[in-house]
Symmetry: C2
Subunit: 144 residues, 2 copies
């Protein structure tokens, strides 16, 4: 799992100190909470309390995840690379947690149940997931 952060962010300090982070996937219905978390800093306010979300201690790393979001990944920091004004961080995924009601019949995460948010930074817009287009490593075989 790779992410990029500015060094000035509160998240960055915590992440470097704990050598761990979690990636929490909100559903479309939680888009306001996600946006709120991106606007305000945990340095100045208790974001969990204000957004009505709950911090749960990670099982595998020293970082909290968000109880109310349908999916969370626990990551152990493994690499740090400076890239311009951001720092690029790689984490080894130690655990993937998905709400049981969000799984499909094969026990895999169902993208339409989780209904994650797509972010288009160039226009600062959030979007949902659209229609199923096809099966990977399959539909391309039609090209001969």
């Amino acid at each position: 799992m790779s992410i990029s952060l500015r060094k000035s962010r509160y998240t960055y300090e915590n992440l470097i100190e704990r050598k761990a982070f979690t990636v929490n996937v909100p559903s479309a219905a939680q888009v306001k909470i996600a946006d709120y978390c991106g606007i305000f800093s945990g340095r100045n306010e208790d974001k969990f309390a204000r957004a009505g979300i709950t911090a749960v201690k990670g099982d595998f790393v020293d970082a909290p995840y968000i109880k109310e979001f349908p999916m969370a990944l626990e990551c152990k920091l493994s690499s740090i690379t400076d890239v311009g004004i951001h720092t690029h961080l790689i984490g080894e995924i130690m655990d993937v947690k998905v709400e049981e009601s969000m799984l499909d019949n094969d026990g895999m995460p169902d993208i339409h149940k989780i209904n994650p948010i797509i972010y288009a930074p160039e226009i600062q817009g959030y979007f949902g997931v659209g229609e199923f287009l096809g099966r990977a490593f399959a539909i391309g075989k039609e090209i001969k």
Copy 2:
């Protein structure tokens, strides 16, 4: 721009030799071409010819981009990190090319016109972009 590749891939060899790569964004209507390119190796066949796409020499880096796809990024390789069976590569974006008909009124890439593909690797499925959910750095301000 960061990507991950297996060292055994033909793409990896080319990328390391040229110290450059392009990221080409297909539209939903081109999903079979994208999948075909992911299944077969350029070591064994001329993928451009077979898929009916055209390689154009990059303007800023020594790598080709795909003429028929609505968006392409030219990237100069800047960092290489081994991560398990994959290698994680960071490229500095030297140019962003977007088909003019795919821009919005402000001259920015329009996500619904480009209509890119979302890949869900856990179920090997391709999906389209869904409905607009809200404006970033804006809707979260409603949380007080």
